[in-house]
Amino acid sequence: MTGSNKIYPSADAALDGVLRDGMLIAAGGFGLCGIPELLIEAILKAGTRELTIASNNCGVDGFGLGKLLDSRQIRKMISSYVGENAEFMRQYLSGELELEFNPQGTLAERMRAGGAGIPGFYTKTGVGTVIAEGKEHHDFDGETYILERGIVADLAIVKGWKADETGNVIFRKTARNFNVPAAKCGRVCVCEVEEIVPTGSLDPDAIHLPGIYVHRLIQGQHEKRIEQRTTRSRVSDTTGKKETA
């Protein structure tokens, strides 16, 4: 028994009392894969402003975190990739949006470390680039590293596949991505899943995110939009085992 109920009836209810202007939110997802679309929608509705969001991407124009760009609720992004999001690039280049570029692995580790009580770590990533500017450099065994800080977010919003009633979560395929490190770095973590199953029905050996990291839980329908639909034809695929990335 966990002693308290983590299950909320809706995304709005799950975010009640945890949103405030100017807060730092860590969001899971990579591109549009595994993004907490219901919680993003609820933040849009709540109208919380001046947000700093740590997320690998910022959705696309009009979907995912892109909605919060359109509504001008985001003051600053901590991201590795702007990519094909035209509004993200436009707001950044015009100076409307602050953007702290983090290498993808550094961002993931900053979240992981923050959640693990590690306030900083040294990495080779970014040495000799603009990323290293103003950061402490340290040599270990003849190689130069820079100091990066762990992230502790006021709120983590993540998306899982299934959770039990105590918040143990499993993810599906590459939708796990940033959801695990983002969840861990949140002082409060709200997780949306496709299905909440009875406690005891998930294999304890298969849990990807133990319930200790998850404070609030909702179940809902997900659009799960595909960014780049790439396929192969059934007809021409007689060559067999060609791998395509």
């Binding site: 990579f30 395929k173 799960k224 780049q228």
Partner: protein
């Protein structure tokens, strides 16, 4: 440039890059031409492709109607899994990259310099792409191979004495494969390894701003 009639096209560049792969390797392929390398892996060479969004063992594109929104590569394209596939989170993914477990990364580039500096993530004031996982990859993997066009659309060399764009990594590139040939980064400059079909050494040198030794 006469890239149409002379030298290698995108697919030939990818095929040449595939010759760099060794049996048993774990490899990360970047977006663009590097992605095509997977189509040319030589017979008998078994490599496991890593996707930095959390997958080892990338399979082919799915058949139409079998696309899974939960299964994409780092280029956000729908892919499939293989019998040996493993999934993991982003922190784990970059632990194996940073930790030197990936033998080789094959990446695209905007500019490369003769000391191995690489620029491939932004053009200040114009194009902001972001570095994604490229900075982590070049800092962590065993060997970095760059595949790119030798010159810009305007005919300017992209193989330079020093990069003009913000760097992705300092002195990180080992080998450069372009439409004109193959060059290695060695002390003091670049060394020609191979010329593309129909390309003379003089033509390669003329298209290269960087120092070519010998």
């Amino acid at each position: 440039m006469a890239a149409e009639t002379k030298g290698w096209d995108r697919n030939r560049m990818a095929a040449r890059a595939a010759q760099e792969l060794q049996d048993g390797w774990y490899v990360n392929l970047g977006i663009g031409i590097p992605t095509l390398v997977a189509n040319y892996i030589p017979e008998g060479v078994h490599v496991t492709l890593q996707s930095e969004n959390g997958m080892l063992g990338i399979g082919p594109f799915p058949y139409e109607g079998e696309e899974d929104p939960d299964l994409i590569n780092a280029g956000k394209q729908t892919v499939t899994e293989l019998p040996q596939t493993a999934y993991f989170d982003s922190a784990e993914s970059f632990a194996m990259i940073r930790g030197g477990k990936i033998a080789m990364a094959i990446l695209g580039a905007m500019e490369v310099a003769e000391n191995g500096d690489l620029a491939n993530w932004m053009i200040p004031g114009k194009l902001v792409k972001g570095m994604g996982g490229a900075m982590d990859l070049v800092a962590g993997v065993g060997r970095v191979v760059v595949v790119m066009d030798h010159t810009s659309k305007h005919g300017e060399s992209k193989v330079l004495k020093s990069c003009t764009l913000p760097l992705t990594g300092q002195a990180v590139v080992n080998r450069i494969i372009t439409n004109l040939g193959v060059l290695d980064v060695v002390p003091g400059g670049l060394k020609i390894v191979e010329l593309a079909d129909g390309v003379s050494e003089d033509e390669l040198r003329a298209a290269t701003e960087a120092t070519i030794l010998g």
